[in-house]
Symmetry: C2
Subunit: 199 residues, 2 copies
DNA sequence: GAGTATACAAACCGCTTGGTCGGTTTGCAA
DNA sequence: TTGCAAACCGACCAAGCGGTTTGTATACTC
């Protein structure tokens, strides 16, 4: 049977509760006391697994937020028709997300806007995340370009970067609007853009 | 000569210093003590002009952030060629903004991401701001459509919304990257999109 | 010039925050 | 069975926060 103490489980529990709190309240406003009580874990346990709040934040970002985000892109870009893959990802997200998800927005975008200017660690993490996304998309576009799927004239790096920006912008407006209708129109706008890349 | 006490000047001073602090640190992390000491104003003065921090925040958003943002759009959309107007606005911004501006990002986007989920007032203010921008762009597109400047098939509302999202997304990535080069590529991407709307 | 509302000054307050630290319990190895 | 390190507990702390209150100086009105 499982032991009374399992450090991995404890750490994961803290991580997940912290992620949820930070998704809703942001990094700074996420209270350690609140996290501890919701995770049913003592302060001693937390500070045993993480040096301080900052490192907890970094871990949440890297192990949960970034991972979720990248896996979504991996799925979309693995489709044989990359453009359709992206569009399907958009409508899938729209179908799956709850009202709370809409209100909370994209955690990467939220943390980035809150912290990038005042914490170099978060700035590097978020920038790195965006670069990885852009790189993935760029490679997919280059592949598609060779296959004759997308127009030949386009600058794949620039386009990939703009697609990432489009996503983040949609996340921003989704959060600000709290409106599924707005989200739908925005997705339609991005889908149009993506499809116009087709050869 | 000017009186020793001028309530309007005092209020404006508080507003401007608060705006600067919130631009850098966000709303919650902007400290009233810090604002007061930088503005060389007492706590009594602040609480004479504003009921609480929240109302100060709302005033900063409405009277400074929103105004600056909207005036930029007004200028761009007043051009006879709206598409060029937007593109010029992009390159003007790029030329004028300092490294600090890049690092701080767009204050509307920053505040929106920080507060929209936890404060209905900020949520409404930011959404309203985005809607006004979108409306302005939509009307400009409709005008241009009648003039035969832009393609006839486009959905002006959806396109306008996506342009606003594109802007916010660029602001997000600009802040996260702290890189002028990235900003330039993003602007180029958006400019391409805007120009492809041309008839 | 008196009276009064406005405009400020600054000491003060309760509360929450992230973080510390001495002590205790658990699990495993020898 | 013993020994010890890892895991955890929770009382405690200083600092900073937004906000209140009491008092005073200025400016305008009559």
């Amino acid at each position: 049977m499982s032991p009374v103490r399992d450090p991995d489980v404890t750490r994961q529990k803290i991580l997940e509760v912290a992620a949820e709190e930070m998704r809703v309240h942001g990094y700074k406003a996420a209270s350690l006391s609140e996290i501890l009580s919701k995770a049913e874990v003592s302060k001693g346990a937390l500070y045993h697994h993480f040096a301080n709040k900052q490192e907890l934040g970094y871990a949440v970002f890297e192990e949960l937020y970034a991972e979720e985000c990248l896996s979504r892109w991996r799925g979309a870009l693995a489709q044989e028709d990359v453009l359709d893959g992206i569009c399907h990802m958009l409508s899938d997200f729209e179908d799956q997300c709850s009202d709370e998800d809409i209100a909370c927005g994209c955690p990467v975008n939220t943390i980035s806007q809150e912290m990038a200017a005042v914490d170099d660690g978060f700035q590097k993490q978020t920038f790195n995340m965006y670069q990885r996304q852009a790189r993935m998309i760029e490679e997919a576009l280059l592949r598609s370009s060779e296959q004759g799927l997308v127009k030949s004239g386009i600058d794949c790096e620039q386009t990939a970067l703009f697609i990432v920006a489009g996503f983040q912008g949609i996340a921003s407006m989704m959060k600000a609007s709290r409106s599924r209708e707005t989200l739908h129109k925005l997705h339609a706008g991005l889908a149009d853009y993506v499809q116009h890349l087709r050869a």
